[in-house]
Each structure stands twice: as C-alpha cells, then as structure tokens.
C-alpha cells in the first residue's frame, strides 16, 4: 500500500517538474527554433524545424553590423573587467587592511552610492562627457562603467578580505616581506573566488546594459549588442524576428556557457557579498 502511494506521489512530482521544465525552456527553444527555421515568421509550426538552416546567421553577418557590435561589446566589457577589477581590489585592500581617518564614512558613502541607480545622473554624465570630448567614445562608456562598479565591487571584495586571517600577512611581514609583496603573494591568491566574481560581474554588466550605451554612443558604428538587438525588435516598420533570434543565439550561447561554468562563484559570490560584506 505504501509503495502504491509512493508511486502516485512520484507521478505528481514528475508531472510538476515536467510542467516547470516546459515553461523554463519554451522561450529558449522558441528562439533557437526561430533562428533555424527557414521562413521569416513568428509562428513557427513546430518547435524543432523540419528543414533547419543557418541562412539567418549568414544574413545577420552580411546584412547587419552584428560582427561590429560584437567586437565593440567585447572591447568595452573586457576593458571594464580589467580596469574595475584593478581598482576594486586595491580600494578594497585599503578599506580592509588599513585603518585611517574617514574609513567608516567612506564605506557608508560607497554603500549609499551603490543604491543609487547610475543612470539617474544621465543628464550630468551626458554634459560631462560632452565637455571632455568623450561623448560617443568607448573610453567614455568604459570610464562610467568602471566608476559605477567600484561601490558594489569594493563591498564584496572587502567582505571577502575581512574573512582572511591577518596572522598570515603579519607572519610574512615579520619575515621581512613588504606590504606590496604580501598583497600580491598572499592575499590575492587566497581571494580567487571573490576576484572571479568581481571580474565576471564587471564583464557581464556592459554586455547586458542597454541604457548607458544608448545615451553615450550616438553613432551606429559604435553600438553594442544590446542596442543592436533592441533595434531589431522595436523597429515597427522593419522588424526581422529571424535575424533577432539568430543574433540572440550568438549572444546568449557564450554568456550562458560562462554562467553555467562559473555558477558556483556567481551564486555564492553574491550571497557572500550580502552576508559578510
């Protein structure tokens, strides 16, 4: 009797799991299907196309600036990743290991700044970039991203540094190592999870962002992927969903792979930042 009941419960559980699974993958399968389907229609008849084709990918590369957007996005993301990781690590070290006047005030300021959505200051950023000649340049956008990532990153990183016992460093200093030595040889290798987390978020942020590029980058040769793909869907006269789907697949595949690969760091990094930071 107990077995019978177990079977019924299991059937219910699996039905539920199957339903969640269907809802989870439906949009993803739809994008892939639309990208591979030969036609140009929204209503693909079957989820798995009967005559899959790579035609739309070819069109995407020939007829649009997709490759250029991709290059722009990668350049901005990688630059931001390197610059902000450097800045965040050094700043977090100062907040974690040094004791100086204004430390608490500085931390609290960063915290409040982090809560303020960066693009609320669009007008000022626009005027500042215009006056410094950085409007419509990738450098201008990178500098804004880097400045914006400091407050959040420093909190996560400082929280992580705080969990590493100081006794290790103090021992090394007694043995005659300099402060820079201790930082590079001891603290950094121990902080790989937090550094990975900060690097990944700094890399992914610009790929996902839509608003700031829309404000800073004014000409089509400077555009990023998000802008390009949004243009494909929002343009009411000239929507090409197949091209959009093909572009989405090419953008989403590497990002999704990155997320899945670094899943542990990303999910628990955020938890650590909130918990210990």
């Amino acid at each position: 009797m107990k077995r019978m009941q177990d079977h019924l419960v299991a059937a219910g559980l699996y039905a539920l799991l199957a339903a969640i699974f269907a809802a989870t993958v439906y949009p993803l399968v739809w994008v892939a299907g639309t990208a591979l389907n030969p036609g140009d229609t929204l209503l693909i008849s079957s989820m798995v196309p009967e005559h899959p084709t790579l035609r739309h990918f070819g069109r995407l590369l020939r007829e649009t600036d997709f490759a250029l957007w991709y290059r722009n996005t990668m350049f901005i993301s990688v630059s931001n990743m390197l610059l902000s990781t450097l800045l965040v690590t050094v700043t977090a070290y100062a907040f974690s290991r040094l004791r100086f006047k204004g430390r608490q005030v500085g931390l609290m300021t960063l915290l409040v700044l982090q809560m303020f959505p960066g693009f609320l200051s669009i007008m000022a950023i626009f005027v500042l970039l215009l006056q410094t000649g950085l409007l419509n340049t990738h450098l201008g956008l990178i500098l804004i991203y880097t400045g914006g990532s400091v407050s959040f990153g420093v909190w996560v990183m400082k929280g992580y540094f705080d969990t590493i016992p100081r006794s290790l460093e103090e021992a090394a200093i007694i043995d005659g190592a300099g402060r820079a030595d201790v930082f590079v040889r001891i603290l950094l290798p121990l902080s790989v999870p937090a550094i990975t987390f900060v690097m990944l978020t700094a890399f992914i942020g610009p790929v996902m962002d839509f608003i700031l590029p829309q404000i800073v980058l004014r000409s089509s040769d400077k555009m990023t992927l998000a802008q390009g793909l949004y243009g494909m869907v929002s343009d009411k006269m000239n929507s090409s969903f197949s091209l959009f789907a093909a572009g989405s697949v090419l953008t989403a595949l590497p990002i999704t792979a990155l997320y899945m690969f670094f899943q542990k760091y990303l999910i628990h990094g955020l938890a650590a930042g909130a918990d210990k930071g």
Binding site: D6, A10, L13, L17, T24, V25, P27, L28, W30, V31, L42, L43, L87, V90, T91, A94, L98, R99, F100, K101, R103, Q104, L110, L111, V112, L113, M115, F116, P117, L120, S121, I122, M123, I125, V127, L128, Q131, L143, I144, G147, G148, S151, V154, W155, D162, M208, F210, I211, A226, Y230, F244, A252, I255, T256, M260, I267, L270, A274, D275, G277
Partner: protein, 462 residues
C-alpha cells in the same frame, strides 16, 4: 614678497611655529623657507602663484555662473543668431569649480600645517636645523603629514593614512566624477525650472526656483496622483515580485530535494538555465512571445480553442505579465541559492522533530523556514532593492505601457525609475524628474543603510 620671506628665513633664530604658519598662510612656501626647506618652499610658492593667477579667477567666474545661471539669453541681433549663456553648462562648471576651490583650500591648509609642525619640531629638537636639512625635505614631510589625523587610536599604524590615501586616490577620483558630481548636479536641477517647453538652454535661460518643483509635485493634482499611483504600484511590484520569486524558488528547491525525485542534479541544471541566459534578450523574447496580435503564445491559445489574452495591452493583465516574466527570470537564482542553504540544515534536527511526532508541515514551519530566512534575509532585501529599480524589465517588456490617460508622461506598469527616464529622455521634464529621483533616493537609501548597518561589516572588531 618672496624676497622679503627669504630675508626673514635667513634670520631664522627666534621665530615660533605660529610665525611659520602665518607666513605660509599669507604666501604658501613662506614658512617652509623660514624653516630652511628651500626646495620645498620654492615649489610651494610656484604652485601658489599658478593657483592665484590661473585658478582663482576662473573659479570665481564659474561660481558667479553657478549663482546667476547666466543672464544673456540667445537672441537675434540684426538678423543673426547670437548665442547667449548656456545655463546648464554654467551649472556643471560651477559645481566642478566648487570642488576645485575646496581642493585648493585643503592644499593650502596642509601647507600651513606643514610649516607650523616642522617649526615646532625644530624648536623642540634644539639645534636640529642642519640635521633636518641633511635628511631632506621629503623625510620631514613624511613625519609631518600623518600627525594631521588627531587622536588616532593606538591600533592605527602611523603610515596607514598615507598608504590609504595613495591606494584610494584613483577610486576617489572615479567615484567623484562618475557618481558624486553627477548626483549633486541631479539634485541641483530639482531646484531650477529646467524643463520643456520654456526653459531649455541654450534657446532660453534656466533659473533657480527654490522648492517650487517639490510643491508642484505635492500639491498639483495631476502630478500628485501620477506620483502616488506609480509609487504605490512600485512598492506593490517590488514586494510581490520578491516574495513570489523567493517562495517559488524555495518550493522548487524543496520539490527537487524530495526523496522520491531522482536525477536531482539534472533537474537543477535544467531549471537554472533562465538565470544563465542574458536577461535583456530574455525580456525582448518575451516581448515578442506575448505580442497581442502576432505573438506565439496567443497563437498557441488560439489553436487550443481558447480566447486570446491581452498580455501587454490591458493594465491589470500587463502587471501580471510583468510579474510572470520576472518569476521566470529570478526563480532559478533563488532556487540554486536556497538549494545550497537547505543542505546546510543539520539532518538530526529533522530526526529529533520526527521522534517528537512532528508532521511535515510543522517541520517546515519550525525548522526549514527559520533557518532559510535567517541565512537569506540580506539577499531578500537586496532583491527587493533591485526589483524596486528594475528598469530593464519594465522598459524593455512593456515600455511602461499600456498608456494611462490619468498619468503625466507614464503608463500603467511604469515604476518610478522608468517614469523618471521618460521625463528625462523623452519629455525633457528635467526638474520634475530630478525631484522624483530625490524622493526615491531617500527611500531606497534609508532602507539599505538600515539593512547594511546591521550586517557584519559595521560590527567588525579590531
């Protein structure tokens, strides 16, 4: 001036620290010369001259511009257009000048303090004049600077302050120019009449109007009802979306943990996919899927013989659609996070409860829930804050629509942030956008400071 200083400096004997400080206050480097730090004094003096000749007049002009915001509008003289003052550029320049002025004053104060302290050290050290000179000015400066921090607690190592300043300088500059200056600018705009159609530079001037914008926001009926309506939906949205995703994630995590479910890892990997998928693409895909006329979802319903649903065009349904899409995107992250936390609950707690005769529901309520909530309350609040400002989801999915005729420049699903965006970029209602953002900022900042000040970092001991 400088020749006179030098003359005093050569007579070096009885002058006290106050004299050195006073000399440096009148002319930077003067006190240093008195202390026979010739190279340092000369450098300070040169910098002082440059600041006085180049910096101060510019700062003065910029500050004047900040006060007046310009007085010559753009006009047509003899058939040609003559550009007038651009109030907004004047405002930004004035703001930057404030910082520049403060920086100069700070440097000058450091210069005075340096002269004073060094003189005091010389007097205390008796005939140490030659000694200091041999070790050079840099060493003297190194001794003088850290002492600026008054009453340093004993654990503060003496050189920390200087190292910290060096390490923090780049971040400080970034934060100053990317966050603080723009934010102050944003705040100042709320106290002007910078708005379309009458006050847009450089066609026309902008001027200071005090609290007028705020009083309009709080007393003009249409503005008040727009603000109230959007604020209410914004709060409801943030609370509901957070709770639904949180408890949904918990439910799915528990579902996978059930003893009868096999291939747990496989299910978890499949369900976490939406989290890994780029969110802006997912939102755009949903925008297409839920399209009223052409959308595949309505196509599916039609084939099943069901009526089409106005997913994005009915005010109430659109709100539910936004919640649904958010659930799809956020549940996986919470599921993965909570699944990890569930495994940390000691098994013997459950066993003990079973011995005491507790059922499934009471085990969940008494053991699982408290454990999970304590471990994730910071995440819950963080999710709340980010949902409160989830601009991308609203703007890319619905554009804030469907349009609401009772609102100023906003639709039924607009949250404060997307309303501000529209007022800024589409309607040029800069002052009102800025006033709303100030109100919003105060709310969000209060909540987050309350939250964080209770967490680990502020309770650290050392």
């Amino acid at each position: 001036m400088s020749r006179g200083d030098r003359a005093i400096a050569y007579r070096a004997g009885p002058a006290g620290p106050a004299t050195a400080g006073l000399l440096s206050a009148v002319c930077a480097g003067g006190g240093q010369l008195l202390n026979r730090q010739y190279a340092k004094g000369a450098i300070f003096m040169a910098a002082y001259a440059v600041a006085l000749i180049v910096g101060v007049p510019r700062i003065g002009r910029a500050l004047e511009g900040l006060i007046t915001l310009g007085d010559t509008p753009t006009r047509i003289v003899d058939g040609t257009l003559v550009r007038g003052d651009h109030s907004i550029f004047l405002l930004i320049n004035g703001l930057l000048a404030l910082f520049a002025g403060a920086a100069l004053l700070l440097l000058h104060a450091l210069n005075v303090a340096d002269a004073y302290r060094h003189r005091a050290a010389l007097i205390a050290g008796g005939g140490a004049f030659s000694g200091t000179r041999r070790y050079g000015d840099a060493a003297a400066a190194a001794q003088a600077l850290p002492k600026l921090g008054r009453a340093a607690p004993t654990h503060r190592r003496p050189r920390d302050g200087r190292t910290a300043l060096l390490l923090l300088a780049p971040a400080l500059l970034f934060v100053l120019f990317v966050s603080v200056v723009p934010m102050l600018f944003n705040v100042l705009i709320a106290f002007t009449n910078y708005a379309s159609p009458n006050h847009i530079p450089d066609r026309s001037l902008v001027s200071w109007t005090g609290l007028q914008t705020f009083s309009r926001l709080l007393s003009d009926r249409a503005w008040t009802s727009t603000f109230g309506g959007i604020f209410a939906w914004n709060v409801v949205w943030a609370v509901l979306s957070t709770l639904v995703a949180y408890f949904g994630g918990l439910a799915v995590a528990l579902l996978i943990e059930h003893r009868l479910v096999r291939f747990k890892k496989l299910w978890r990997t499949a369900f976490v996919l939406p989290w890994a998928f780029p969110s802006f693409i997912a939102i755009l895909v949903f925008r297409v899927l839920f399209n009223g006329a052409l959308g595949p979802v309505n196509g599916l319903l039609e084939r099943a013989g069901l009526p089409a649903v106005p997913w994005l065009s009915d005010p109430t349904v659109a709100k539910l659609t936004v919640l649904l899409v958010h659930f799809w995107m956020s549940m996986p992250f919470l599921m993965a996070l909570l699944a990890g936390i569930l495994t940390t609950i000691p098994k013997d707690l459950y066993e003990a409860a079973e011995v005491d005769g507790a059922g499934g529901a009471s085990k969940f309520r008494r053991i699982t829930m408290p454990h999970v909530l304590i471990a994730t309350s910071p995440i819950l609040i963080m999710q709340f804050a980010s949902n409160f400002n989830n601009f991308n989801l609203i703007y890319l999915l619905t554009d804030g629509g469907p349009p609401n005729p009772d609102y100023y420049f906003a639709g039924s699903t607009d949250i404060l942030l997307s309303w501000i965006y529209k007022m800024t970029l589409e309607q040029n209602q800069f002052n009102m956008a800025s006033a709303v953002s100030i109100v919003m900022f105060v709310v969000v900042a209060l909540v987050s400071v309350l939250n964080y000040s209770r967490t680990h970092s502020f309770r650290e001991k050392d």
